[in-house]
Amino acid sequence: MNTYKVMLPILVNGEHKQGDVFEHEFDSPEDEEANLTSGLLEIVPRTYKVVGPSEVFETPAGSELEKALTMTQEKLLLDGGFLERVEPKKTRSKKTEADE
């Protein structure tokens, strides 16, 4: 699952218009590539942590980086034990804290 931004004035999947950001899982890397190279979609960067011993995108082991990775790139780097996803921290609203 990746997060994409609609870059062209075309309705995507019947609901996402230009500028919208949405999560989607393409059936194949080729499908994703076709949508990226046409300029219709752009991958929204996400945060990763370098977990292997090697530098990845010139970021040392143990550090975090923000990168827009294609399905193929991400799969190779996650499966190979080079990177892991850092899920965004959930922010708690003041109202929730006050309620507690």
């Binding site: 990845v56 190779l76 034990g81």
Partner: protein, 139 residues
């Protein structure tokens, strides 16, 4: 302009820095030679045709996680190109340290290649797989 001596090349395969496991690199950016000689010509005439690019990198084998085998082996079965970047030095890209960058497919992977007592080396050949071909970004 000083003559450049290669001692600290930067090599990245799909984002993974493998400079400390390589000792030779060859970058090839080529164009087909197309014969356009017509009747009446007295000399052969040629023009440039399609472009092509290739990077051949000699790596030392390392089966540790996150090193040579872990980076290259998955690429031999993948049919989607990955970014291969080489720079003359490990310093950041600049006008005096340009990168050679292409999206390439790994076309051969000789996991072990050597004789008794040798350091095992791999000649990894990446062939261009995108219309961009070889680019030379400086930033």
């Amino acid at each position: 302009m000083a003559i450049f001596t290669l001692t600290d090349a930067f090599i990245s395969v799909n984002g993974v820095t493998l400079s400390d496991h390589a000792n030779k690199v060859t970058i090839e950016d080529t164009r087909d030679s197309v014969d356009i000689t017509a009747f009446g010509a007295t000399s052969k005439a040629i023009t440039k045709g399609l472009g092509d690019a290739k990077m051949t990198i000699t790596f030392y084998q390392d089966f540790a996680g996150g090193k040579t085998h872990a980076t290259l082996q998955p690429l031999i079965s993948s049919s989607t190109g990955v970014a291969i970047e080489v720079r003359g030095t490990s310093a950041a890209r600049s006008a005096t340290n340009p990168a050679a960058l292409m999206t390439g497919l790994l076309m051969n992977y000789n996991m072990l290649d050597g004789s008794v007592g040798d350091a095992t080396q791999i000649d990894a050949e990446f062939n261009n797989s995108s219309q961009a071909g070889m680019t030379y970004p400086t930033s």
